[in-house]
Symmetry: C2
Subunit: 327 residues, 2 copies
Amino acid sequence: MHILIIGAGGMVGRKLTEALVRQGHVGGNEISALTLADIVAPTAPATGIATTRLASDMSLPGEAEKLVASRPDLIFHLAAIVSGEAEADFDKGYRINMDGTRALLEAIRAEGRKGPYKPKLVFTSSIAVFGAPFPDAIGDEFFNTPLTSYGTQKTICELLITDYSRKGFVDGISVRFPTITVRPGKPNAAASGFFSNILREPLVGIEAVLPVSRDVRHWFASPRAGVGFLLHAAELDLTRMGWRRALTLPGLSATVGEEIEALRRVAGDKAVALIREEHDPKIVAMVDGWPKNFDARRAESLGFTAEKTFDEIIRAHIEDELGGRIG
Amino acid sequence: MHILIIGAGGMVGRKLTEALVRQGHVGGNEISALTLADIVAPTAPATGIATTRLASDMSLPGEAEKLVASRPDLIFHLAAIVSGEAEADFDKGYRINMDGTRALLEAIRAEGRKGPYKPKLVFTSSIAVFGAPFPDAIGDEFFNTPLTSYGTQKTICELLITDYSRKGFVDGISVRFPTITVRPGKPNAAASGFFSNILREPLVGIEAVLPVSRDVRHWFASPRAGVGFLLHAAELDLTRMGWRRALTLPGLSATVGEEIEALRRVAGDKAVALIREEHDPKIVAMVDGWPKNFDARRAESLGFTAEKTFDEIIRAHIEDELGGRIG
């Protein structure tokens, strides 16, 4: 089985690559080749699997065709610019987040015209496809009214992937990620970054800024759960989904206050004292339009799972990023 | 006020043009100029209003820019290829129904960069943005899971129009038309044509084929109501909609059997006897995925109205198309 990961250089992409290399197979099929693509050629982990590293911007003419020319059996499409950047640069957002995906779908379709080819495609969508006002818990049949260009682009990609699947050009699924927390490494341009910052930084003795009030509720899953979502999607028989190929994933609905209390239980008052509250009206306003809670029973019935407490999320971070120890 | 109608040559476009010319104003603003565009230059009704006729395919480079170069204040975008054709010709469907709309939005945005410009845009969407299975009545917050490429393209246009509106480039609304019945003239490539055929043809003494069973339920409005939708949308203060700019319009939920009984009441057994039942498994299968009933209370609260009985729909046809007499 040949696997292509587009956006392999990102945080989730790197963790997914490591997981694939570690397990060596997907759904009983041995991984024979791995192609890792991103704007900058991603680093490859040490492995016996034949690995190709590619630098590619899929939204540019001819690039998507190059990515699928080797006819990968399974494609993970994780590439996107984040919400803050897509909102600030309208043209770039549509080019990368929408035209790039469409180019990939067209390249797959063109390969299929040369000879039978229908790869499985796992696309990371986002809860940004939803916009306030919301019911208490957003159900699987709630409508998509994104309040950002990023959310609009993700919704359009979901629609395209479903239609290309229905027409038999690809076998696609779009999985709407909760906000991945705790993100390791440095903050990125995502406005949601503070949800991770207020855990990650205090856990290693560094101060972090909380720009919203503690009663803000949001929807979370760990990076470990995120990789689990992708692997499960890759193994899932998608005919079980009919032509409703976009799926809200399970997650944890919690307030920032609950997040902080979990930090206190795991790392003590000393860690919590490093969180400095400094409200940012711009971020407060954005967060106000974000989803707070879901009833993701369809994904649960299809076997997707996520953490049930913030303690679990924090412990996953300590195990996966800090060698099991708190600094 | 300068009004541009894109798709002015189609059935609804012609009726809209006539209505605008007849009333001479929109929302208290006198109509000073009218631009009528379609793939083939539309015919213009006799009027004192300065009228320009244009042949244009908006999906081709430079064409959308030409359409908005004269900076119309109000744009009706009715242009599309129908569901049957979009399903049969995948590339043409995406080019006309999706890329064309995007080109229009980009041309408007480009005009706005030259100097302040934010026209009102009324876009005809469709109940094809929904796909089975459905609840008994589809509410205003039900999700879009189209089962055709046409429905996918309409949904994407809705999303784009909302995002371009939110960003301040245009002031747009997407109105999801019920199936317009009775369509005058000849059958077109729409698979839904039989809903009209079984009324229009018998009313003038001609046989018509019914390809589905009489218990098929669907969602209807007359061409007269359709024009009313567009005029009401043009006058509506869209800030009342927030950033939920796509709207399911009111209509009549009725079975084919109820449609036929209305024909019997209006035109007698003789007309009904001209309907020949000849089931077409392909059409039966398509219709099975179409919406049957809506709870369109949001549109109703915004002042949109449609017929409440099929008798009204048939009488509107007799008045508007047959000079008030049954043949």
